[in-house]
Structure formats: structure tokens, C-alpha cells
């Protein structure tokens, strides 16, 4: 295969392409101009730093370093979820960390151990990018799921209390809200699975093709990653709700209102 990688000059043209959306933003006097510039700078700096770090991680390829990096990714995702849900950090940080860790580790373990021809549990080249893809989707799903669960309990408190007053256990009384949260959290992944290959060629598949592999190999990777993401999001959302239920409810089964930051 010919070397068709992105040169620094080429990347310069990529940045030049930004003139188009920035002109649109300026023309319509959108207030987001400053935010866009900050985001572009942040993206560039973060990716440069991660690129340097990942080069080092891939070179060393130490299982402990790989695991430590994955844990850092989970912690950052954990904090992002709580910030994205208008909930307070203290009671939820630990349960959501556990949910994210399990939700990422289970499909990642199956992917690296059983799906790949040769197990690659400790190979940074597989574990970190695939783990990142699963975790990123778990993060998105968990923000939607946790927010839907607690906000619908807040707005639907009367119906919830009626269920408790009719003898429902905590699990039984929260069941409709759990179902609503799961539906909301999983729907984007379900929709993506339904349109993958027709509407869009996903990132991983594109990456594998650009890496010089044939489309059939890319498709196998993509199917495996989509199933891993779907499994990870389902586990994370269910576990996230189940584990936060232990800390976000009073002993009497009512929602502890101090968890809401607004």
C-alpha cells in the first residue's frame, strides 16, 4: 500500500478549511465564535499531548501502564457524567465509577480475549483505542440514562409515591423510570446500528480501511465494536442506576433531594 498519511502541510490545509464554518458563524453573528475557537485549540492541544503520550504507551506496552491509563479515562468520564446530569458529585461519584469500569471492562475483555484471533488483553494498540471507543459511548449513554432516571423521578414524584404507598418495593417502584432511562440511553446506539454502513461509515471501519486492510476485515471489526458498545452502554446504564439507587434514595425509599444541584 502506498504511504498516504496526513502530512503537516496537509493538516495546514485542514485547518484552513475551518475558514468556511468560522465565516458562517461570523456572518450570522453567532455568539458561539469564542467557544468554537477555544474548542479547536483544546482539541489540538489535547490530541497532541495524547498523541505523544500514546506513542510512549504503545512503545512501552506495559500492562500496568495500560490499565492505569484506562482508569484515568474512566475517572474523567465519571466526572463528565455527573457534570452533565445536574447531580451532585459526592454521593454518585463512586457508584458511577464502578458502573463505567464494569461496563467498559466486560465488553473490552470479551473483545480482546475472545473476538480477536489472538488474545490481546495487554496490548495497548487494541486495549486503549477500543476501550476508549466503548467508554466514550458508555459516557454518552450514562449521561442520558442517569439524567432521565432522576429527572423523571423528580417530575413524576406523585406517581412514584403512589406506587410506594401501594406496597411497591424500591425496585418495583423505580421500574418504570428505569425502563424510560434505558430506552432513552440505548436508543441512539440502536439507531446507529440500524443505519451503520448505509448512512455512515463508522470511525473504526474507516480507520481499519485507511490502515490498509480489506473492507471485509473492517466490517468484522466494526460489527464487533458495535456489539461491544451496545453491551457496554446497557451494562453501564443499568449498573449506574442500580448502584446510585443505594446512595441517592433515603431509607424510606424517597429520592434524596440533596443529590440535585439545581
Amino acid at each position: 500500500m502506498s504511504d498516504n498519511s496526513v502530512t503537516f502541510w496537509g493538516l495546514g490545509f485542514g485547518y484552513a478549511m475551518l475558514l468556511i464554518p468560522l465565516s458562517i458563524i461570523l456572518w450570522y453573528r453567532l455568539t458561539m465564535f469564542g467557544k468554537v475557537i477555544t474548542s479547536i485549540i483544546r482539541m489540538t492541544v489535547q490530541l497532541l499531548l495524547v498523541g505523544v503520550y500514546l506513542q510512549f504507551v504503545f512503545k512501552v506496552n506495559n500492562p500496568f501502564l495500560n490499565t492505569a491509563w484506562l482508569i484515568v479515562m474512566v475517572v474523567v468520564a465519571d466526572v463528565s457524567i455527573i457534570r452533565g446530569t445536574d447531580l451532585k458529585m459526592r454521593q454518585l461519584l463512586l457508584p458511577l465509577f464502578a458502573a463505567l469500569a464494569v461496563g467498559t471492562a466486560v465488553p473490552l475483555g470479551i473483545f480482546a480475549g475472545l473476538i480477536l484471533k489472538e488474545p490481546a488483553f495487554f496490548d495497548a494498540r487494541f486495549v486503549i483505542p477500543v476501550g476508549g471507543m466503548i467508554l466514550g459511548n458508555c459516557l454518552r449513554a450514562d449521561i442520558i440514562g442517569i439524567r432521565t432516571f432522576y429527572q423523571s423521578l423528580r417530575t413524576g414524584e406523585k406517581a412514584y409515591l403512589l406506587s410506594l404507598g401501594q406496597g411497591a418495593s424500591l425496585v418495583e417502584a423505580t421500574h418504570p423510570y428505569m425502563a424510560a432511562a434505558l430506552t432513552a440511553a440505548l436508543s441512539p446506539t440502536v439507531a446507529t446500528m440500524a443505519t451503520t454502513g448505509i448512512v455512515s461509515l463508522p470511525g473504526m471501519m474507516t480507520g481499519v480501511i485507511l490502515g490498509g486492510n480489506d473492507p471485509v476485515t473492517a466490517i468484522k471489526y466494526q460489527i464487533a465494536i458495535m456489539i461491544s458498545i451496545f453491551t457496554g452502554t446497557a451494562i453501564t446504564v443499568v449498573l449506574g442506576i442500580m448502584l446510585t439507587r443505594k446512595t441517592a434514595f433515603t431509607q424510606f425509599g424517597t429520592v434524596d433531594k440533596t443529590i440535585f444541584s439545581k
Binding site: 413524576g156 406523585k158 403512589l162 410506594l164 411497591a168 418495593s169 418495583e172 424510606f252
Partner: protein
């Protein structure tokens, strides 16, 4: 242990959002008694009911049912002996029949047997047309929701029945049916919060909680 079924309220203080509404409330409610909780708006009547159901933790004092003190552990067992009709019932999504059947699916109610004839009879008694069973909960009027909530509570056949303004949206005919049914319930301890004086006919005792209201100034700071 005191006699089975007696509700003992001992030196209760309760409120919400850090504001104490009532304090120093003591009362014994004997099994089978029908008690009307009276008092001005905002005096803490509904708060008292919420405390008895374990929806609001008391600020001070205790409530016990048949000698069992209501706390975070016992509440789950005690709620199996309670039924509740809220002031403005809101149900989960679904048709009326699903709403009525839902409590029968709870593990704590596994001893209850669904009786189609009884349900039909109660719906008819409350003046519902046959097609009400398939009506969506969101389509129900305030009065219909209240009647459905009352029927759902009756079907549970509990030892304690807590009602919060249960007739506020009912017409005269439904109020009469409600009064008749309450009067027939000899073995159930009924605690009723109401401004509606027609409900005074149901009660054989009245507790006015105005005397237990905490003065607003005492909540400052």
C-alpha cells in the same frame, strides 16, 4: 408491645425543606377508628399524612403501628398494611385496568387475588361507563383520577387507609358513594385529611392540628 393496629404518634415534629410545620403532636388512633385531620391550609395536615406513610422523615418524635416503630427498615413491612389516596393522583402511563392491576404485581401484595367481579362492581358503583377500563391515564379528569385512586386503595383491602383530600374533585353523587363505602369499612383504620365538611360524617374523631402548628417566626434562621 401495644395492641395490634393502634397508631401511636408521640411528640411528633414534622415539616419539609428545613421548615418545621407541626411540633409536639401526640395522638393514639385505635384500630378501626375513622379520624379526620382538620386544620387551616398550610397547617401541616398533608405533611402529617406523608410522615405516617414514611414519605417524609419526622424532624423529631415517633410514629408506631401496632407497636412497630416506623423507621427506614420497618417502613417496607408497614406499607404492606397501608393504602393511600393522594390529593391529586398521578398514575404511571397505561390504561385504567393496568393502573388497577399494577399493585397486584408487587411482591408484597402476592397474597391478594384479583377479582374481576369486584372491580366491575366498584367501577359501576362509582358511576363509570364500561369503556373506562381502556381509557389512558392521561385522558382521565381530576374527578376520574380520584375515583380510580379510591378504587385502587379499596382493592388492596388494607389495615390502614390514608386519604388526602380524596373528594376535592368529586361530584355530589360520587361523594355519597365514597361516604357510604367509608362507613361500611369497620375493620379499617382511616386517617382522612379534608377541608370538605361532608367528610366529617365519616369520622368518629377529629384531630385539629392547628394547635400543633409551629409559629412561622420560630423557623427563621
Amino acid at each position: 408491645m401495644s395492641a395490634p393496629g393502634i397508631i401511636k404518634i408521640d411528640n411528633l415534629a414534622a415539616g419539609f425543606n428545613g421548615r418545621v410545620l407541626i411540633e409536639g403532636l401526640c395522638a393514639d388512633i385505635a384500630p378501626g377508628q375513622r379520624v379526620l385531620i382538620a386544620g387551616a391550609s398550610g397547617s401541616g395536615k398533608s405533611t402529617l399524612l406523608r410522615c405516617m406513610l414514611g414519605f417524609t422523615a419526622p424532624v423529631a418524635g415517633t410514629i408506631s403501628f401496632g407497636g412497630v416503630r416506623l423507621d427506614g427498615h420497618s417502613v417496607w413491612q408497614l406499607r404492606r398494611r397501608m393504602a393511600y389516596v393522594p390529593q391529586e393522583p398521578i398514575f404511571q402511563h397505561g390504561v385504567v385496568m393496568d393502573i388497577l392491576k399494577m399493585p397486584f404485581k408487587y411482591r408484597s401484595n402476592s397474597h391478594l387475588v384479583w377479582d374481576d367481579v369486584k372491580v366491575e362492581g366498584m367501577l359501576e358503583r362509582f358511576g363509570f361507563a364500561k369503556n373506562i377500563k381502556t381509557a389512558q391515564s392521561e385522558e382521565l379528569s381530576g374527578g376520574e383520577k380520584q375515583r380510580i385512586a379510591i378504587i385502587a386503595a379499596m382493592l388492596l383491602d388494607r389495615e390502614y387507609l390514608f386519604l388526602d383530600e380524596p373528594t376535592s374533585a368529586l361530584d355530589a353523587a360520587s361523594k355519597t358513594v365514597f361516604t357510604d363505602i367509608m362507613r361500611q369499612m369497620k375493620d379499617t383504620t382511616i386517617v382522612l385529611v379534608s377541608h370538605d365538611e361532608t367528610n366529617a360524617q365519616i369520622a368518629d374523631r377529629r384531630i385539629d392540628i392547628t394547635q400543633y402548628m409551629r409559629k412561622a417566626a420560630e423557623n427563621v434562621g
